[in-house]
Each structure stands twice: as C-alpha cells, then as structure tokens.
Symmetry: C2
Subunit: 344 residues, 2 copies
C-alpha cells in the first residue's frame, strides 16, 4: 500500500484538504476535535508528509548540500559528522555527495544539489584543477556557498579551514620547549597551500626563538610515503644531524619511519618525529606519535554554523574562520618528565 496523501484523509473524513493540512500542523483556527480526528486517522492510515511537495510551495528545502572529495578519508568523515550534528540542531537536513577528487564529478554533484534546490552548499574542493564555470553558476544562482578545508579562490564565499600555519608553529614551539634546537622539516610541496602554510609555521617558530634556518634540514617534495623516504635521505646526509623532524603529514612521517628503520636507527633515541595530522591517523597509531591534532569534527561544525548564519541573514560575522589545533604527545620524541607540560 503506497503512502497516502492529505486528500485521502480529507475524503474519508468528508472535510476539505485545507482543513486536513491545517489540522496536521496544529493551526489555531481548527477545532480541537477536528485536529484530534485528523491526527488519529493520519496515524491509522500511516500518513507521512511529503517533504518536497511542501518545499515546492515554501521554496525552502531545509536541506544543505555537502560535497567532499572522499568519504573513506577519516578527515572528511569526521568533518561530515560535525556538519550533520550542526545541521540537525537547527532542523536542517544534509545531502552528501562525494567527488572522488575529480572535478568532473564535483561538477555533476553540485549541479545535482542545485537541482534539488538545496538551501546552501558546503564544499571541500577536489584536488584536480577545479571547473571555475560551475562555481560561477553557483554564484549567479544565489545559493549560499561555503568552502571548508580546501579553498577555491572565489570572492564572496565563506571559508572554514584548519589554521595550518599556526598549528605548525605551535608544534615546533613545543618541540623547542622540550629542549631541542636542531629541528628539520619534511615539507610537502610548496605549490600547495597547506605545504606552504606548514613550512611558514615551522619557519615562524624558528625565527621566534632566534634559531637559524638550516636549508639542508628542510626537504621539499610531495605528500606521499615515498617523499618521506626521500626527504629523510636529504636531511640525513650532512655531518650534523637534526634531532627532531617535523613531517608535514602522516604519509611523509610514515616514509620517514621506513627510512629510519632501514638505517637501523631508533625512534626517539636517534631521531624524534613529530607530524601534522589528526588523531585518527590511518597508518600510524596516534598514541605512539606526537602530532598536532587538528579536529575535523570541529571544522565541520564551524562550517555548518557559518552556513546557518548566512542563511538566516545574520550580519557582521567573520566569513573566514581558521580552526585551532591541539598537541597530542606520543612516544616519538622524548619529552622532559617534569617540564611542567605533559599535556599542552
């Protein structure tokens, strides 16, 4: 038996459709008796309101479209968690689409969501060079657009992201406070924003503490495991070795582990490793690793909250937000026992 509609109820009750509609939403000008009868019958006949028919009229879908590059990536799945929680609280629904890091799929996803008349779009752009045309389309269609994590330069849209530079600085500051002075950096590519920002943060910290910048201890490359292996090779050639290496992400750290193991070196005795990441590192169990723990859940929460402000037409809020991070101390470097900072 397919789901019935209001007309059906109206017919059985020999009243008009309008009466049923009003009774169902508790409109004050329907008698309590009528309301009761309508509700009872609705329950009995298993009536379920038709969300989109309602939306057609109100021109609101109470739905936010979200596009992420990859849902199996724990970073994004936590972010989506945060997004959904924030949406829930305000009675919004979320429709999730996955772009698989392909801008073509991203384009289709966005078009679909627009077709569904979502009230807003929350997007983490794919790694591929984006299709600017689709974003132009979004813009002229007046649908609020907010980017999270990955930004696409598109003026007039909001952005919520991790404070990479600040976090990197925070982590290196910590390492320095642990007493280390010789700190290298296995950087990612400086063609990518996160690569640049993390490198900048590292440099900020060194400068702040009056430490020299030793180019031979900075290895640029990619963000893959192999880049970690190669990077370690580069910074480990000179006469003087760094005491601690700051890896720009988990894959690079993993590669460094490989290289270290291969040389018969030990962590943290011979060299310490700290890395940029979040607590659900897929490959390196975080308890054994000292990381700067970025919180994707919080990022999702903030992104959706910014969206809601946007939609409600609030004024004067910041349209660019950067999420702060916390240090999680693992066994990959030696931390002074009584330095007064077991947990930062």
């Amino acid at each position: 038996m397919p789901i019935i509609n209001q007309s059906e109820i109206a017919r059985k009750l020999k009243v008009s459709r309008a009466t049923v509609s009003k009774a169902l939403k508790g409109d004050s000008d329907i008698s309590d008796d009528m309301k009761q009868r309508v509700h009872d019958l609705a329950e009995k006949l298993n009536y379920i309101p038709h969300y989109h028919a309602r939306g057609l009229h109100s021109r609101k879908s109470m739905t936010i479209g979200v596009v992420v590059p990859d849902i199996s990536n724990s970073f994004f799945s936590y972010a989506v968690d945060g997004i959904m929680d924030a949406a829930d609280r305000s009675g919004y629904h979320v429709i999730l689409a996955v772009s698989r890091e392909k801008s073509e799929i991203e384009r289709k996803n966005i078009l679909n969501l627009l077709s569904m008349r979502v009230d807003g779009l929350l997007i983490a752009v794919s790694k591929e060079t984006p299709d600017a045309a689709i974003y132009h389309k979004v813009k002229i269609s007046d649908v609020p657009l907010i980017f999270f994590d990955r930004i696409l330069e598109e003026q007039g849209s909001g952005f919520v992201g991790i404070d990479d530079r600040g976090a990197a600085k925070k982590l290196v500051d910590f390492v320095i406070r642990c007493g280390y002075r010789k700190i290298g950096h296995l950087a990612g590519s400086s063609h990518v924003r996160i690569g640049r920002d993390r490198l900048e943060g590292y440099l900020d910290s060194l400068k702040d503490h009056g430490l020299p910048i030793r180019k031979e201890w900075i290895a640029e490359g990619g963000f893959e495991r192999k880049d970690g292996i190669a990077g370690f090779g580069k910074v480990w050639t000179g006469r003087e070795k760094p005491e601690v290496l700051f890896a720009a992400n988990d894959q690079i750290a993993l590669g460094a582990y490989d290289a270290i193991r291969e040389r018969g070196l030990k962590i943290p005795e011979d060299v310490g490793i700290v890395a940029f990441g979040h607590h659900d590192f897929a490959q390196i169990p975080s308890p054994s690793m000292t990381i700067i723990n970025v919180d994707p859940y919080l990022l999702g929460l903030e992104a959706m909250e910014m969206m809601l402000k946007f939609i409600r037409g609030e004024k004067g809020f910041k349209t660019t937000v950067r999420i702060d991070s916390e240090i999680e101390i693992g066994e990959s470097i030696r931390v002074p026992e009584n330095g007064g900072f077991r947990r930062i």
Copy 2:
C-alpha cells in the same frame, strides 16, 4: 538572482511551458530549431531543472535513503562508498543519514527519508534495541527495504552481510595450514550474531581438521579492548598455552597486544595473533597483523545492487547475500616461507 524556471523561458520565447518542457528533454516532436533556441536561452539564463517538482509528478525520486550508525567508522564509510558508486551507475542519488547507534535517531532518520519519498531504504541498524514500530511503518508503506551488515529480523526484507562464519573458518583454516594445532579464540559476546558466527566458524575449522575443542582456550566477553585484556588473561592461565589466538575483532586484538606486552611476551615468537577485521583497522596497522579482510566496499556495492533489482521488479534473485573475505598476511604469526601460500 534566484534560479529561473521553465515558465520564465517560455515567456521570453513567447511559447508555452509545455513546449519548453519538451524541448528541454529532447522530445521528438519539437523542431530542432525550437530545441536549439530553448536550450540556448536556458543556458544563458542559468536554468537548472527542479528535481523535486519533476519527482512530484513522476512519483519517483530516483533517490535511495541510506542509514548507517556511524560514518566515522571506516567500515561504514567504505560501505557508503560502494553504495554511492553502485547508485551512480544507475543514475540514482543517495541520501545519507547517520543514526549514531541510537534507535531513536534511526527512527527519525527513517521517517525523514520516507518524507523525502526515497525509492528505497538501505539500512544498517543501530546497536540499540530497535524500534520495531518504525520498521512496520516502512513495510506497510511499500518502500523497498534492504538491511546491510546488521540485520533486524524482519521478514520480507533483503539482507546483505559479511559471511562471518565462513570467514572465521577460512582464517583458522589458514592458521592450521601454517602448521599450528593449538589455537585459542578471544570471542566476543555470543549474545550477538557476529560473536556467535565467528565462534562457530572457529569451531567449524577445528572440527574439520579433527582438532579437539579446548574450552579453556576460548574466552567469551565483549568486543572492547578491555575484553581482549581479560580474555588473554583467561586463556593464558593453564599449563599448556595456545600458540595462536584468533581475536573476534580489532579492539579485542588490541587488548590482547596490551596483555602480551604487559607480560613481557613477544609476538609472534611467544604467541601469534590473528583477527577478524578489514584492511583499514583504525588501531592496528594492518600490514603488521594477519587478518581476515572483509570488504565493506563490496558489501555496499552488493546491497545497492540488490536494491536496484528490487526496484526494477526483477524476479528470482537471492534476497540474502553474504560477502566472502580474503586473508591478509601480516607479521603477527609466523608463516612457513615455502609453504606455497604467501598470499591466499
């Protein structure tokens, strides 16, 4: 500028809405010239079809509702990946809802999805005792319902799950083929289906190989890390120790690791550990662990494919499918070098 509609195009072109509608979907009885003009203007005015208005008429949403208990759980995020891929191929959309393992949220999610008039419902039930009423509602509303991974006894619905029993047997068979005869089991709770099935598979294998069942080497408990610690304690008390332990999941295995480390024992020299899981174990890096690798992606794929058969009204397909698993060999047990089966 809000998104325009067909009427707008019709007005500007001084033709009827019907003509525009037909031209846009390439109906054969519209002149090529007219089609061209309509398409051009649509493009120019940034027309985007209204998905739900269309659905209102066709009474099809081309959308499948999916409910999972937890999207940050990599098992489910991979499953959702599979679900979305299969849906995509057939032009279906997916709306994802997350129940946070709460049956009350699950109930709301289902109601929402029904309100959105999804064409089908794909559900992994939450751990809490389910609200049977909502499933009854689904049933009488004629919306196709398929459970995946976690089943709720509800006759007439499809189910796609992991073949836990077969997989457990396969893994223990492998351990036996490696030459071990003393194999214990850190079981979960036998009140839960997966606990029972994995235990059964373990027993199946022992029986098949004519090995005795040693009750003192089977520890039942829960599925948490602490249960792994406790379980190891139980099976490690007797005079004769097992050579290999089969843990019913990753958390239990992790607990066993803790207990083993605490006693100063070594893996795999003193005791081997194999476990039930999938390749993206959150806590134990899978390369170091021998596991029976279940594939959640495949599960999602199969579940959605069953749904599509259901919707298309195909006949005679199996409504219960169990997904097979593969062994992934890690360093947690010693495997004979030339046993002829480096990879199964």
